[in-house]
C-alpha cells in the first residue's frame, strides 16, 4: 500500500513534467527542453507503473521494453526528415496496437465488471481502428499503396454494416465479458476492418488529419483505460493527447476550409480532373531565372510538398543565403497545410538550418506580397491556387492561400503541369507574371546556384 502511495505521488510528478513539457513547446527556443521534460515525465510514470503491485515476472517485461526501445530508436534515427509524416503514422499505429493488446490482456487479469468491460472494449476498438487506420495512412503517405482516395459504390453501406456489427458484437461481449467469449474476436476483427474501410476513401494528403484524429482517439482510449484501472496519470496524459489531436485536426480543417466530415467522407481528391483553363504557359530557363534573381531585391520562397519530394530544402537555403549576400531581402512563406503535415515545411527548413525568424506565416506575408519581386513557388500547388480565391465552383474554393499571383513575378518550380493533391488545375501557371521553371525542384535551384558562383 505504501509503495502504492509513492507510485501515485510520482504520477503527480510526471503529470507536472508533461504539463511543463507542453508549455515549453510554446516557443521554438524552449521546445527541445520541453520535449525532454515530457520524456522524463514518461520515464517516471513508467518506473512508478513497474512498482505497481501484482507484477509477477519482470523478465518478459524487460524483454518487451528492450526490443521496443531498439526498434523505436532505430526507426527514429534512420528516418529521413522528408518522410516524417509516414514515421508518425507508424508510431501512431504501434500505439494503437499497444492499447488494443492492453485491453485484451486485461481480460485475463481475473473477471471484470461490465463498466470495466466497456472501457476494455473501448480500448480494443480504438486501438484496432488506430492500428489498421495508421497502417493504411502510412501506405498512402509513403505511396507504397495508391495514395488517391479509393471510392467504390455502396461503400457507405458496407461501413455502416461493419459499424452495426461492432455495436452488436460489442454488446454481446459486454454482457458476459471473458476472454473466452467468442464475440470478443468478432469485435476485434471488425475493428481492424473498420480501420481500413474508413481510411481508404481518404486522399493521401488528408492523412495528417486522419492521423491526428486517430491520435486524439488514442488519447481518449488512454483516459478510458485510466478509468478502468483507476489510474490518474493515464487520465491526465490521455486528455492532454486528446486535446492536442483535436486542436490540430481543427487547425488543418480550417486551413483547408473544409469540414472534418468533408475530409473524412467526401472522398476528396478522388476525382483528379479539374476543368481546363485557357491562357499560355511561359516556361523559363535556369539562366534567365538567374538574371531575374540577380536583379531582385525582395525574394519570397513558398515551399510545398514538392520540396519534400525533391529534398530541395538544403539548396533552397543555399540560394537564400546567396540572394541575401546579393543584397536581397529573403523570406520563406509557410502555408499552414503546405506539405503533408502541419508544420511540415518548418521542419524541413529547420533541418536546412534556416533560422526560424526568416519563416513568415500566410497572414503575415499576404498583406505585403505586392512588394515581393520574385515569389519562388517550390513544389507547392494547391496552397497557392488562386481559384481558391476567385472560382466559386472550384472544389477548394474558400481555402485561404498565399497570394503569390499578386507578387511582381512568380517562378513555379515543378516537373510538369500536373495538378496538386486536390486534383484542381491551377490558373496560376497561366498567369501574366508567372514563369514555369520545369524540372525537379532540387536540380532547378542547384542550377541557379551554380549560375551565381
Amino acid at each position: 500500500m505504501n509503495i502504492e502511495l509513492i507510485a501515485n505521488l510520482s504520477y503527480i510528478l510526471s503529470a507536472i513534467f508533461f504539463i511543463f513539457g507542453l508549455k515549453m513547446l510554446g516557443s521554438p527556443a524552449t521546445a527541445r527542453r520541453g520535449n525532454f521534460l515530457s520524456s522524463l515525465g514518461m520515464l517516471i510514470a513508467i518506473v512508478a507503473g513497474l512498482t505497481s503491485q501484482g507484477i509477477v515476472d519482470f523478465k518478459m517485461i524487460a524483454g518487451g521494453i528492450f526490443i521496443g526501445a531498439i526498434v523505436g530508436s532505430l526507426a527514429a534515427r534512420l528516418v529521413a526528415m522528408t518522410s516524417m509524416p509516414e514515421m508518425v503514422a507508424l508510431f501512431n499505429g504501434s500505439g494503437g496496437a499497444a492499447s488494443l493488446l492492453v485491453g485484451w490482456a486485461t481480460l485475463y487479469g481475473g473477471d471484470v465488471s461490465s463498466f470495466t468491460a466497456f472501457t476494455i472494449l473501448l480500448a480494443i476498438l480504438i486501438g484496432g481502428v488506430t492500428l489498421t487506420g495508421s497502417l493504411v495512412a502510412y501506405g498512402k503517405l509513403s505511396e507504397t499503396i495508391n495514395s488517391a482516395a479509393v471510392v467504390f459504390p455502396g461503400q457507405r453501406i458496407v461501413n455502416s454494416l461493419v459499424l452495426v456489427g461492432i455495436l452488436v458484437a460489442g454488446y454481446l461481449f459486454c454482457i458476459e465479458p471473458s476472454p473466452n467469449n467468442q464475440w470478443l474476436y468478432v469485435t476485434l476483427a471488425l475493428a481492424l476492418l473498420l480501420g481500413i474501410m474508413v481510411v481508404i476513401p481518404i486522399g493521401g494528403a488528408d492523412m495528417p488529419v486522419v492521423i491526428s484524429l486517430l491520435n486524439s482517439y488514442s488519447g481518449i482510449a488512454a483516459c478510458a483505460a485510466g478509468f478502468a484501472i483507476d489510474n490518474n496519470i493515464l487520465i491526465v496524459a490521455g486528455s492532454l493527447v486528446g486535446a492536442a489531436g483535436i486542436i490540430l485536426t481543427n487547425i488543418m480543417c480550417k486551413a483547408m476550409n473544409r469540414s472534418l466530415a468533408n475530409v473524412l467522407f467526401s472522398g476528396f481528391g478522388a476525382v483528379k480532373q479539374g476543368k481546363a483553363i485557357e491562357g499560355e504557359v511561359k516556361p523559363i530557363s535556369v539562366e534567365d531565372a538567374y538574371y531575374l534573381f540577380e536583379a531582385a531585391s525582395n525574394v519570397c520562397f513558398v515551399p510545398g510538398y514538392g520540396m519534400a519530394v525533391a529534398q530541395a530544402q538544403h539548396v533552397v537555403k543555399e540560394l537564400g543565403e546567396i540572394l541575401e549576400k546579393n543584397g536581397a531581402e529573403v523570406s520563406f512563406a509557410i502555408h499552414p497545410v503546405a506539405g503533408r503535415m502541419p508544420g511540415h515545411m518548418n521542419v524541413l527548413l529547420a533541418e536546412a538550418d534556416v533560422p526560424y525568424e526568416q519563416l513568415v506565416e500566410m497572414d503575415e506575408i499576404n498583406p505585403r506580397i505586392e512588394n515581393v519581386d520574385i515569389a519562388v513557388v517550390i513544389g507547392a500547388n494547391d496552397v497557392v491556387n488562386p481559384s481558391a480565391r476567385n472560382d466559386e465552383d472550384s472544389p477548394i474554393y474558400g481555402m485561404p492561400i498565399i497570394n503569390v499571383d499578386k507578387a511582381r513575378t512568380v517562378f513555379v518550380l515543378k516537373r510538369s503541369m500536373a495538378s496538386g493533391f486536390s486534383g484542381v488545375d491551377n490558373p496560376l501557371f497561366f498567369g501574366e507574371n508567372t514563369r514555369m521553371l520545369f524540372g525537379d525542384a532540387k536540380e532547378s535551384i542547384a542550377g541557379v546556384v551554380s549560375e551565381f558562383s
Partner: protein, 96 residues
C-alpha cells in the same frame, strides 16, 4: 467516490490541455504531433499490469506484446521529436 475524483481530474486536464496546446505556434505543429503521439504511449503504464498480472500464458504474451509496441511508440516518438526540435535554430545559433 473514486469515480468523482477521476472525473474531476479528467475535466481539469481537458481544460488545461486545450489552454496549453492552443498556445503552440504553427512552426512546431509537427513536433507537437509526434510529441503528443509519444505521450499517448502512456498506456505502457497500464500494459505492465496486464503483462505482469496475466494468469494465463496468453494473457502474459499479450501483455508483453503491448509493452513492446507501447515502448516503440514512446521511445520512437520522443526521439524523433527531439531530432526535429534539435534542428530548429534561431538566427543567433544559426551559424553553427
Amino acid at each position: 467516490m473514486d469515480i468523482v475524483f477521476l472525473t474531476f481530474i479528467l475535466v481539469l486536464s481537458i481544460f488545461l490541455g486545450f489552454e496549453l496546446i492552443s498556445k503552440v505556434p504553427a512552426t512546431l505543429h509537427t513536433p507537437l504531433m509526434s510529441g503528443a503521439n509519444a505521450i499517448s504511449g502512456i498506456t505502457l503504464a497500464g500494459a505492465f499490469l496486464a503483462a505482469g498480472a496475466g494468469d494465463t500464458d496468453l494473457g502474459k504474451w499479450l501483455g508483453v506484446g503491448a509493452v513492446t509496441f507501447a515502448t516503440i511508440n514512446v521511445v520512437g516518438g520522443y526521439m524523433v521529436t527531439d531530432r526535429m526540435l534539435g534542428m530548429f535554430k534561431s538566427k543567433s545559433e544559426g551559424g553553427k
